[in-house]
Every structure is written in structure tokens, then in C-alpha cells.
Amino acid sequence: MASKVISATIRRTLTNPHGAFSRCRHLSTAAAATAVNYEDESILMKGVRISGRPLYLDMQATTPIDPRVFDAMNDSTIHEYGNPHSRTHMYGWEAENAVEVARIQVAKLIEASPKEIIFMSGATEANNTAVKGVMHFYRDTKKHVITTQTEHKCVLDSCRHLQQEGFEVTYLPVKTDGLVDLEMLKEAIRPDTGLVSIMAVNNEIGVVQPMEEIGRICKEHNVPFHTDAAQAIGKIPVDVKKWNVALMSMSAHKIYGPKGVGALYVRRRPRIRLEPLMNGGGQERGLRSGTGATQQIVGFGAACELAMKEMEYDEKWIKGLQERLLNGIREKLDGVVVNGSMDSRYVGNLNLSFAYVEGESLLMGLKEVAVSSGSACTSASLEPSYVLRALGVDEDMAHTSIRFGIGRFTTKEEIDKAVELTVKQVEKLREMSPLYEMVKEGIDIKNIQWSQH
């Protein structure tokens, strides 16, 4: 009875031209971007008035949910509401079936077996479980962890936590292009190294690490290799056997799936053991107790299947847009630096530094484009991004970086508009910048004695 009413409601609103969904459609970003219309659609938010919604170019932070994923989740939410761990009735069996189908979909994307996938609440939980779980399990014999300076905060913080417990951690520096130095990695490995954790694709600068080489080094020295692949799956080809990874963290909301779900790949042959973070009924092979979020997991599976089908097409589309963005900006502006290697990079991430212009003031001017910055002012601690600092970027350039994230649904018009707005704002801010003036006069900024606080 309830389901009948609910499905009738859905049918009515979907066909109703004045329903909530059509209201959403009026506010789509591409349409709003090209037609500036201050009268009706202007939004006042945080003291800033903008016409329509901003262009979304922050795909590394999160991605909009793919409508096909939403469809899959919707059905599941309404009909498959049983607890997947209920063994005794059909509701449980249906939900369990849905979860297992999703498990196969995720496993196929990374060339793993479904038995090796453990669903979690996200890549952060997966990273925590991998780093802390492995080291705690082998705490008697292994005391050392190797990671890089450009890892995601959750890995770095887990390592910090391990240090407080008495483990030793080596934070490998990276080269100026953002890639790990393989020689330094080889030298850092010790007999008591319990884990090497290096992320596949960096969320801030988009560089792709040499995964096969790192995997080979770890195999030679018999050290488990964990990678945070949240930004990598569904975007670059991932093969856990070729990469020789023992553990891999994945996140759904980076590949057009729902938020609140992720997975950890835990290799079975040869087996890697770890202590679970969540104790309880022993679900997910005892590694993550708790009722699985069926709907989220179904969404994650659907997103992975779509990613597998569309990876090649997406890559072509996004690469074209990335070139359009970079060339469009470079044609009109000088002093534009790309942070991180241009060759070994995921095409959807473009982290640019604009010399003599500060990041937060540029973001304030780019209110019609949703991007993110590695500038100090945008972080609460007034320190510029640690990733850019690890690259060895000059401090004043670290303050000027903007990260553009391009995705499956980004359009050419959005890119063109972003180029136009960025160029306009950078030129305006350079007019206001004393550093630009000094450079124009021929003064070398690096030689000035600054009077800082």
C-alpha cells in the first residue's frame, strides 16, 4: 500500500511540469552560465550576489551524482529495504543480492575478485583501516611505515597517530613534478617496514605515480603496498595484479556515485591480514562490522559499472576540455604555471598558479566558478597547501594556485566561460598588484628585503 502511494507520487511529480525536478532543471549550470540574467535568478550567498548557480569545476572535491546511478539507487531504496545480513527471510536475501551484485561491479573495475572487496563508509575509513589495521596486526615484528609528503590528510594523520603509538614513519619527499623518487623509496625500505602507502592520483595536483614500478619494488622487498586510489578508479586503468597492491582505498563520490560509501580492496593471495577498526557482528569478512548501507553500495556498484564502460570516452572528452582551458588561459595571460608533471597526470585536474596574484582574492572574483585553491587564506591556518610546498613551489607561488576540476558532465561553454572569467579577474588583480608593478619595472622580487611580522 505504502509503495503504491510512493510510486504514484513519483509518477505524478515526474510528469508534472511545475514539480520540484523541473525547478532543478531551470538552475542547470551550463544554461545559467551563458545567459547572465540578474532579474529573477540572482542568489545572495555569503554576502556575494551572483546570477544563477556557479559553474561547477571542482570535480576533485566531489562529483555530481550520475542520473543513471541515482535511478539504480532509487529503486533499491524503495524496494530492497531489508538488512542484507538477515538470513531468514526474502527481504534480507534481496538486499544481500543487491550488495553482492555491486561487489562484483566494483571488483570488475579493478580486476579483482569480489571476495576481496570490503565496503566501508568512504576512502577515509578505508585508509584508516589499511594503515592502522595492518600495522596493529603486525606490531610485534614490523615497526616502520613509508609514505609520501603529498598524501591525503587521512593517511598522514593516521601515520601521525601511529607515531604517537611508537611506530616510525618515513615521509618521502617528492620531485618538483610531484612524482616519487624510486631510488629514495628503495633506500627507505628497511627489514621492519610493514607498509608502503602511496596514492595513485593526487587529489590536489593530479599527478599519477609510477604504480607498476613502485609495486615491483615492494614485491622485491616483500613489503605490502597500499594505495589510496580514490581519485584513480574509473578514471585511469587500474589493475591490482599489475600494480601488485595489497590494499587499495576507493571512494564512490569521486566517480559520480553517492557520498558516504567506499571500499577497501584486501588481497587474498598472498593474504594480507589486518585488525578491523569496527568491531561487531563480523560482517564483511570480519573486517568491517555493521549493517551495510544497501542503497549507497548499490549506487557505488552502478557508478563503477558506468565508469568501466565510459572511461575511454570520458578521457577523450576531458582531455579536449583540459587543453581548451589551458590554451585559452595561456593565450591571454603570461606567468601561468602548471603545478605538477604535465606528462604523468590525470587529465581532469588542472592546478594552475598565476604569478603576482593571490589565490583567495582570485577566488573571491571568480564567484561564478566553483573552484578551489591551495592558498593560505582559504585554509584556516594561514599556511599554504602542504602539497604545493612539498613540490618545492616558491612560497609566493603557493599562495596563487587555483585547482580546476573537469569531469564527465563539463561542457565546452562552461570551460569557455571559466577562461573568460579567470582572465578578466587575473588581469584586474594584476593591475592591483605591487609585485606585478615591480616586475614590470624590472625589479627582481626575490632580492628585496621584506619587512614581515
Partner: protein, 167 residues
């Protein structure tokens, strides 16, 4: 009927206007800051070598804040007749220096030395994390006045030396 309402709510199909934007949002820009950013007053430069111009350059690119404040002083009355600024910094820094140029115009040099960063911060409703921007603006004013005074001493000294050599 109740079930229909509940269904609508569950599926998020109720009106979107119920989202309160203003509630619970901290760290929003005050409209004064946005105004100074969108319509900056007195951006530009004077000739550094003009004896009536004092230039204050404070901050450091490494900190993400550099302010250059220039004042043009009427040498007979000691009043600041015009001011210009250029800033490399966040929106709050730009607004603070813009406000500083507005406030120094038409005042005597001794008066502007009493402008405090807390007044600038209050005018722009700067949050605690941005107070250093107003501090830098106050420093810039002081540096500009100091530079002007040093210039006057030099030119007076040179004039006096010139007189003695002539005489």
C-alpha cells in the same frame, strides 16, 4: 493524504525554499569587503621619486600579503591630499588597504598615525583570522608617513648642504 505528504518529504520533493541560507553560516564576507573588492578606490601609483610622495611597502610574498601605500602630501600644510594603493593579498587585505587610502585623504600626517587596525577591522567586520590584514594596513600607513618624513629630511639636508657650499 498523510502518506502522500510523507512520501513527498521522503523523496525530497518538497519545496526547496525551506533551506535556510542565513542560519548557521559563519565566515561570510561583509558587504563592505565585497564592495571594496569589486569597486576598489584609489588603485594605482604615484611617482616614487616625487619629493611630495611617501611610499610604504610592507608585508612579504611568502606570507601572502604585500601592501604598497603611497601618500601625496602638500608640503606647506602637511596635509595628505591624495593616496594610492596596490595590494597582493586576499579580499580582506585589499579591502583593508582600500579603506586605509580613503581614511588618510584630507588628514594631517600626525592624525593618520593614530588610525588603529581595530578601527579598520571593525569597519569591515573582519573575522579574527583576518585581523592581520588590518594590522598590515596600519603598518603601511605608518611606513608611508615615515618614508615621506625621511625624504623631507634628505631634501632639506641636501638643500642646506647646497647652500653652505654655495655660500
Amino acid at each position: 493524504m498523510m502518506l502522500k505528504q510523507a512520501a513527498k518529504k521522503a523523496l525530497g520533493l518538497t519545496s526547496r525554499q525551506s533551506t535556510p541560507w542565513s542560519v548557521g553560516i559563519f565566515r561570510s564576507y561583509h558587504e563592505n569587503v565585497i564592495d571594496h573588492y569589486d569597486n576598489p578606490r584609489n588603485v594605482g601609483s604615484f611617482d616614487k621619486n616625487d619629493p611630495n610622495v611617501g611610499t610604504g611597502l610592507v608585508g612579504a610574498p611568502a606570507c601572502g600579503d604585500v601592501m604598497k601605500l603611497q601618500i601625496k602630501v602638500d608640503e606647506k600644510t602637511g596635509q595628505i591630499v591624495d593616496a594610492r594603493f596596490k595590494t597582493f593579498g586576499c579580499g580582506s587585505a585589499i579591502a583593508s588597504s582600500s579603506v586605509a587610502t580613503e581614511w588618510v585623504k584630507g588628514k594631517a600626517m600626525e592624525d593618520v598615525l593614530t588610525i588603529k587596525n581595530t578601527e579598520i577591522a571593525k569597519h569591515l567586520s573582519l573575522p579574527p583570522v583576518k585581523l592581520h590584514c588590518s594590522m598590515l594596513a596600519e603598518d603601511a600607513i605608518k611606513a608611508a608617513v615615515k618614508d615621506y618624513k625621511e625624504k623631507r629630511v634628505k631634501t632639506n639636508g641636501a638643500a642646506a648642504a647646497g647652500e653652505t657650499t654655495q655660500a
